[in-house]
């Protein structure tokens, strides 16, 4: 197999990129560990692709630095950075066969011919396309083209592999197939991988850690679980997984609990660190599976709210309800249908939504 490249340690130090008046990347600092699978996640225009372009060397930062093993690579031109890259668009060289595409990085490095043949075969075997070396790119499917591009990016054993929405042009089924492939190759080679996507499922499925981008800034860095359970901002909460947001007013604090008033006037408690000034307007976030629907107010649950079921959809492993709160807002409830969970609610049923104070988050 391909030798594991020397693992790299990549650090972005207060990176900023302006295009005229537009700030594409705004003071981004990020540390990527050796061998880590780090995903840059964010909506389009959030600065993640520009950040990747700066790392690859195609864009120069307006200020800030990119450091590899604490050495600045700002002055290193892209073709000397020894970074592997897979693009969103198909970028195989159209006039070359698959073999020559994968051989290209080694040919420009003037490796001996016999070494090249062997390395190309290993790289193609790694992406399971060992027998397609003679094909031209236009004879390959989109998934195959991206796998060849991956082989081409790995054949010279780069220290860092960056991927810019490599599966964006593929359909869903193919995408999941190649996702598994990329995970396997990452584990096998231990290469440091930076992966850009706007697809939160993809980010959660593949990454060791995720950096969430919004308006050119990194708003939170963490594992998928951390981002899902303790989003740092309302944006992260809304972007990763589905959420309900309820506008509420802070009434006061009691120890570790903050008391807020819901739009229907009921008071509810939220476990929240930090200060919350009375009278402040806040956003209350609840994940759809973190609250329960029941006919009567259950014992022991501090927080409740009465609702009317407006829609129930059976999705096999889950039941998804849309309920309408007293103040007219539609809320999402997901019942994970574990064993022994019996109650079903039909449309029009008046029910009670209940949750524990620790499962709700407050944002300004």
């Amino acid at each position: 197999m391909i030798e594991a490249p020397p693992p790299a340690y990549l650090r972005l130090d207060r990176l900023t990129k302006r295009f005229g008046p537009i700030v594409a990347v705004d003071d981004v600092s990020l540390t990527v560990r050796r061998g880590e699978f780090m995903t840059l996640l964010g909506p389009s225009g959030s600065g993640k692709t520009t950040t990747l372009s700066i790392i690859a060397g195609f864009e120069a930062p307006t200020s800030g630095d990119v450091l590899l093993d604490e050495q600045s690579i700002r002055q290193v031109p892209p073709h000397r950075r020894n970074i592997g890259m897979v693009f969103q668009r198909y970028t195989l060289f159209p006039h070359m066969t698959v073999f020559h595409n994968v051989a290209f990085p080694l040919t420009v490095r003037r490796r001996p011919r016999s070494d090249i043949a062997a390395a190309v075969q290993r790289a193609l075997a790694l992406v399971q396309l060992g027998d397609l070396g003679d094909r031209k790119p236009n004879q390959l499917s989109g998934g195959q083209q991206q796998r060849v591009a991956l082989a081409r990016a790995l054949v010279y054993e780069p220290e860092i592999l960056v991927m810019d929405e490599p599966l964006g042009a593929l359909d869903k089924k193919l995408r999941e197939e190649v996702q598994v492939e990329i995970r396997r190759i990452h584990r096998q080679l231990g290469v440091t991988l930076l992966y850009v996507t706007h697809d939160q499922d993809e980010a959660l499925r593949m990454s060791d850690r995720i950096a969430v981008f919004d308006h050119g800034r990194v708003v939170q860095v963490g594992t998928g679980e951390e981002l899902y359970d303790t989003p740092a901002t309302r944006f992260v909460g809304g972007f990763i997984g589905s959420s309900n947001f309820i506008t509420a007013t802070v009434v006061g604090a009691e120890g570790a609990l903050v008391m807020v008033r819901l739009p229907d006037g009921s008071i509810t408690a939220v476990k929240q660190r930090g200060e919350a000034a009375a009278g402040a307007e806040v956003s209350l976030m609840v994940r759809p599976e973190k609250w329960q629907l029941s006919l009567h107010i259950p014992d022991g649950n501090a927080c409740t709210c009465s609702v009317t079921v407006s829609e129930a959809s059976f999705l096999g492993d889950t039941l998804v309800y849309e309920v309408v709160a007293g103040w007219g807002q539609k809320l999402l409830v997901r019942d994970m249908l574990g064993p022994g969970r019996g109650e079903r609610f039909s449309t029009g049923t008046r029910a009670v939504l209940s949750w524990r104070p620790g499962e709700v988050r407050l944002f300004d």
């Binding site: 060397g57 073709h79 592997g84 970028t91 195989l92 290209f104 420009v108």
Partner: protein, 266 residues
């Protein structure tokens, strides 16, 4: 549904007739000239009383005709090479460049296509008179180049426009220097466009009469000018033979380019 031949019904026969008549109209002069060049009549009588290769023999033994032929070939080849050499950087600048006045510059490079050649000829003649380029090889090449460059720029710019710059970036991140990436990836990818540019540049120069009349002299006389001046003296079948050879060269050039393009497409 689109309009197809099947849906027109009997009307399609009218279309066939129009198509065939148009083709005949376009081809007839060429066929006529080719037939006359093999005819025995001194006065270009048609149909020819008998067939002969006499005019071709006369042509090939006349050093003035042979010289004119080689003059044209040398000028056209030089124009072709220079037109590509200049057209490539111009196209890169026009397609990839981000600078003020880019569209204006593009229009400028295409403008020789819309300026009447006679006017260009008068202007060049006046300028070349001063710098003593009239009747010289460089003068003819420079004049033809003005007419050929727009074709080269249009062909290469179009090809470059259709080429994803990301592919070049991929070559760079793979370790190729920017120049190596252009040389090994971009140029091979747009070679069909470069080939068309070369073909058009060659043919523009090969066919050129008006500008050449202004710029040629006794030593450097392209075959098109030679035909023109001979015609003014007398009309004889040698000119038909020359014309046939000219058409043959053009056809061969286009056929060769077609075969090359087909190989590229594969």
């Amino acid at each position: 549904m689109l309009l197809t031949l099947d849906r027109i019904g009997p009307g399609r026969y009218a279309l066939y007739v129009i198509g065939v008549v148009t083709a005949i109209f376009l081809l007839l002069p060429i066929v006529f000239i080719a037939l006359l060049s093999f005819g025995s009549s001194q006065w270009l009588q048609f149909p020819p009383p008998s067939w002969t290769l006499r005019w071709y023999r006369e042509l090939f033994v006349d050093p003035r005709w042979v010289a004119a032929f080689w003059t044209s070939a040398r000028i056209a080849t030089t124009v072709m090479v220079l037109s590509i050499a200049l057209g490539l950087p111009v196209s890169f600048a026009l397609v990839r460049g981000r600078f003020w006045g880019r569209n204006l510059l593009h229009a400028f490079f295409v403008s020789p296509l819309i300026i009447p050649v006679v006017i260009l000829g008068i202007g060049l003649y006046a300028i070349f008179l001063d710098i003593e380029l009239n009747g010289t090889f460089p003068g003819l090449v420079a004049g033809h180049l003005i007419l050929a460059l727009p074709f080269s720029v249009v062909c290469i710019s179009n090809a470059l426009q259709g080429f994803d710059e990301g592919i070049e970036q991929a070559a760079v991140i793979c370790g190729a220097s920017p120049i190596a990436a252009v040389w090994r990836v971009t140029l091979p990818s747009i070679r069909a466009g470069v080939l068309s540019a070369a073909l058009f540049s060659f043919l523009v120069s090969w066919d050129e009469v008006v500008l050449s009349i202004f710029l040629s002299g006794p030593i450097w006389q392209p075959i098109s000018v030679k035909i023109w001046t001979s015609l003014q003296l007398n009309l004889n079948p040698v000119i038909a033979a020359v014309s046939t050879i000219l058409i043959l060269v053009t056809t061969l050039a286009m056929g060769g380019a077609y075969l090359l393009r087909r190989r590229i497409a594969r």
